[in-house]
Symmetry: D2
Subunit: 423 residues, 4 copies
């Protein structure tokens, strides 16, 4: 393994400190109220209508220059100056990673700082591959935080771990593209501001004579939500949670027609785009999970010191101290692994970090799931209820062992590259 340097630039260190302060002074104090109001909306109102608090916090974040910090160093270009932070450039992955970790401690921070998935990934796709017209119409309002977006890829009818099994279609018909199919786990479609879907489907159909190999038959298409034929069939729960107001939807596309110019980077380019899109996004997810795990361990330590049973603080009973130590070790080594992937991405882009990105995608969710599970156990019944953020944190970690490629697929990538050294 070549040597690594995880030092942030001075500007990144300053931004990290300011994000930390903003979360501690503005977001965290409001969070308990936010969740209480959201729970109330679930019982008696419409939890899919965003609570006004988020917009208020977004305004504050933007005023403080803590906005679109995810903007990638390599592709941000002029947009960093126009929509980014203090007119500066986009951050490197190593620079942004500690910021992502901090936002992982809060359920709403990513939204507040306009750094929420899948908007970040969609914006990055538009930055890298979008035409000027596409950028003007969709990227700018996304960077502005006035609209949201979804990424519709996973399908209910096939094993999406192998994306080539995809059944949805995006067939070019003259100067239009006709979109058909059913997608699910489309995150964010529940939000009223979610105006644009990045849709992935098969363009080079199997029944035609195929010139392209199976990784060059799919296209990514920008489908505005209001296009006729687009229908949100239902919202899906994850372990009973709906993650309102963003949520995860099952969406049907029936003879949906959009201009052929809505295809991103041309027909057949979907896999190439997806590949580039997922590296930084996975670093973000994984760093947020580090933040999740840190929060869980902090809560476990505090509970372990405060509560008493059998005449001792819980922390001193049985194997609890050993488990606290194992959690600390697991968090620290996983953080370093994620920083390492970020550094490899910065050094040479996604192709330089194939193994590293897959490594963290396996390691971070499993670590976070384990640490949160321990924290739940130390909280007893309280850990399972919404009184603490632990149940939601567990679900987030568990979901990420499936979303963005299941563990098994990523282990396959790592093994292939490892065995390749000896062939």
């Amino acid at each position: 393994m070549p040597y690594v340097d995880f030092s942030p630039s001075p500007r990144a260190a300053d931004l990290t400190a300011r994000v930390k302060d903003f979360i501690e002074t503005e977001i965290s104090p409001a969070e308990e109220d936010y969740h209480r109001d959201l729970a109330e909306a679930r019982r008696t109102g419409d939890p899919w209508q965003p609570l006004p608090l988020i917009e208020e916090l977004k305004t504050k974040a933007r005023e403080r220059g803590l906005w679109n910090l995810f903007l990638p160093h390599e592709h941000a270009g002029e947009y960093a100056a126009r929509f980014g932070t203090d007119g500066g450039e986009g951050l490197t992955n190593v620079d942004y990673a500690p910021i992502a970790e901090l936002t992982g401690r809060s359920a709403i921070a990513p939204l507040v700082l306009n750094c929420n998935a899948p908007d970040t990934g969609n914006m990055e796709v538009l930055l890298r591959y979008g035409t000027d017209a596409q950028k003007q119409e969709w990227l700018e309002p996304l960077l502005d935080g006035t609209i949201r977006s979804a990424f519709t890829m996973t399908e209910p009818g096939v094993a999406s771990s192998d994306a080539t099994t995809m059944e949805a279609t995006a067939v070019v018909d003259g100067d239009e593209v006709v979109v058909n199919g059913r997608k699910w786990w489309s995150t964010g479609v529940g939000h009223p501001d979610c105006k644009i879907y990045v849709f992935m489907g098969l363009t080079d159909l199997p029944e035609n004579q195929q010139s392209a190999d199976r990784h060059h038959r799919h296209s990514m298409v920008l489908v505005p939500r209001d296009t006729p034929g687009v229908k949100i069939e239902r919202m899906l729960d994850t372990m009973g949670m709906y993650d309102e107001p963003l949520g995860h939807g099952e969406v049907s596309f029936t003879d949906v027609r959009v201009p052929a110019s809505n295809i991103i980077s041309g027909p057949g380019e979907a896999f190439a785009i997806a590949q580039g899109r997922l590296g930084p996004g996975r670093v973000h997810h994984c760093m947020r999970l580090i933040g999740v795990a840190e929060l869980a361990l902090e809560l476990a330590c505090r509970r372990g010191l405060e509560r008493t049973a059998f005449g001792k603080p819980l922390a001193n009973l049985g194997g609890n101290r050993e488990r606290i130590a194992e959690a600390r070790i697991a968090i620290d080594q996983t953080r370093l692994l994620v920083l390492n992937a970020a550094w490899k991405l910065d050094q040479g882009g996604p192709l330089n970090a194939l193994s590293e990105v897959s490594q963290i995608k396996v390691a971070a969710p499993a670590m976070a799931q384990q640490v949160v599970d321990f924290a739940i156990q130390l909280h007893g019944g309280a850990g399972l209820a919404s009184d603490f953020p632990l149940a939601a944190a567990w679900t987030a970690a568990r979901s990420l062992r499936i979303a963005d490629g299941p563990d098994e697929v990523h282990r396959g990538v790592v093994a292939r590259l490892e065995l390749g050294k000896y062939k």
Copy 2:
């Protein structure tokens, strides 16, 4: 370890076969509709109003003589003939265990067969320790399935893993007992038929001169729900799920007065009662978890054979077959361990099976959690949503690593008895 015999009596084998048939032909076919209707009620109605299907199935179950099968061999007495099955006696733990396993495959079967916790445990307490008046007033309608009950023990303010830290009080005042305190995770209080709470509180207060050691200061009191001062503060979710229409509640008791004759088995007897209550109940829980795990493994195998990725059935990819094998091994050895605990209970009662009951309380939930987690993974995103019973199954297994004594306490019991051999 002495030798064991897990063979059921002919009558038990016949009942098991009939329960299997009833679940397959009556309960399972109705289950999908039931869950769809319940989901609909959550969105638009009142999920706490029981759907009529349950009462219909209860009637059928009773007509077929599949009713109150949990009735314990040792304590069922005349009630087995009056409210039990085909006029026969109560079953032994070994006899009942395979029936409990079968009911674990269905979310509603325990309710339908009038074998649902905590009613079963409460009925057993009344059978063993109740006065004739208590039995007539509360046991008979419970056996009749016309009312339900709750067990209010766990408290939000203390570490309930050490029950002696309990803060609620049940103070005798003349011929009344005055009940105060706050309880949570009181399962079943959401149901409109839940009429009676078994309440546990401190009678021999610390500020008084205490004659009793710390395991003889608490009493169990029958508190009708409608008594003034009883208030359900809120219903709690477990990983986002409310388990309607039974649910888990937080309940406050404020100067609640009931006759002193509502104390079960006399003041200070709560721990003695709790001890006897928990052995069979834990066998039931654990056998149901065996059923949960069997169902999960079946779903995983079916999904693994049906879905294809990378040109192969999922089951043939990577380590999936090894994980299927590990699941089979884990299920089978845990079932045998639970049967062993049942057999020890049958041979000599709870004191004969202290280690065995704690062993299964550690082993079965952890096993089920692991097997269900694997089944979720093989289902991809579908496994996390309510489309499959896996998310609820995971939550049930996870909860039982905390409910009825957390893993750590049970490991402590096993270790104490193990080390005791060498002291």
Copy 3:
């Protein structure tokens, strides 16, 4: 899972009690001296010359009727009366299992009771498949304990997990069979009494026109050690241990000629024989591992109570009590699983217990390895040295994750049968 009954027959219970007494009063008291003398022989003499103690103990065991207890109920026939115990029949697998467990607590007990692998498996093969002449020449002295035997199957040049890759040959040439090849991990060949090898090789060569499928091309041949062309190339160590005086050898066979009548059950029958041979043998191995684990847990508990650090007995530090509990749970559930496999074998023979036998072959070594590893840890440095039987126990458990089929192959069998339910 059908119901099971692990109760031993009264005769088996009596024999178990007598074996326990014999081990406690005769074998265990001699064992420390035995190991000291063996260590001395390693330094200054020839550890491959058996120490006289073993023969003395064998005589005592035979006098007490504790001899050849492994003799299988189904195949023992007249030999049980002539060479077995108190003129009685062979024991069932369920009957013998607790005896095997007891012998697992001692490194020399299996030898002393003439129940040592691979002699037991070889004797069983001769009982089931041998001609009268083969029985008279080899089975009777083995039952008499005057000679020993080896089973030469595994080869250094191929992956023996797939036995069809075997390269050694046993070619019929008129009334002779010509044996060629190199075998290793041939257990027992170091002992001077080891007079007969059961050799497995390819008879129906690939270069010939093959009529047989790949599981009917191999033969088992009785090859006396002194036949010209047989050479023990070297003795192999397992984690540094040679297991003198039996040991594990690498043996070359060069144009070794024996009468064709030395083929067991005819040419091409090797796989059929191997299949039948391995069921009970695996139960024996696994039950001995239960004994190994019980001994390790006992040593861990005793050490944990006797030694003090940081002002407390080691047992009370950190997670040690939880680990003791986990060990107890793991041992008990594995024992029950092994008894279950034994019961299935008794009910319907090897084909009735394919999954069960593979299950225990995975579960028991892994469990024993884990429990012994914990016991080593609690002993500190002492646990790693030969001062305690733990290092040897660990090695025995670890080896059995490879010997008699590696874990992965057995998991494959379990998974195949599990998935077969849904095809």
Copy 4:
């Protein structure tokens, strides 16, 4: 976690490259012969007489300037110029770590490069705390590679995980110090060049009026091996291996008298010295374990590609690829964790890295044990024998879960510091 930089200095990068080349071209090619000759010596000669190869390689290493690379940046002083490499300074921990990793791939490289434990730790102690006379007499020949040393701390009669339980004594009597007690696991005492023992014992005896707390009562004393009263009672095996010609001894000290000037840093300073000594030493151990694990994974991959079973390379069977991926992930994240500890040591010394050093002491041996265990499994029987370095590697990793503080003690340190954040 503050940001980290694991980049080596240009000189360190150059030295690392040269060590890699030296191991590949000089040490590795000789290693098979070395082990064969050593095995032969075990059978027929005296394995405690070092084979001449080591001295030949030492000469070559020194000629190439690859000598005493462990010399610590902070304390090497003039000795780096006199005995170190190319007249340069000592390396930082971050600089030396990759070199230590490389040496971990070879059983003899640390010895050849004069970087072997416990000599390195003893030299560091003398550098930091030794008087000029002590340095001249013992440090210089150690740096010269003409003598070796041992560290005698662990005792057979007490739980050495708690060093305050130590029973050996070092009592000042006028201008002499009288040493008594029994030590074991004294690594290196088997070597004929091992001339000096660093002995730790109690100076401020409990029966005296104690002025010092329990961490200021012990002294470290330089005891030449030839002093009357010093006796090597026996050499200890680790899982059957003696690690000749260095080995691990049990040593008795009976009224051993040395000048009081042999006390290092004055009476009562042993714990202070030990604390400073163990930080870098643990980094060295852990980085060598990274090298061990890398070698094991490489062997596993090669074997997995070369051997075939069931018609496929072993690597493609069952869960093997997933396990290869898990091994890669585990190695990489552990390496980063060790580099992080090295970096913290470099930034602020042992007190700055208490948690980090304990973290790696838990994580690295467990990781290496796991990876090697997997590699053994993939090698089948060969993996258990001395034909491959895997059995020895496993033993080395397993030993280090006990040596230099057992896992449980290090987890305790990590947990104490973690909980300390919230007190």
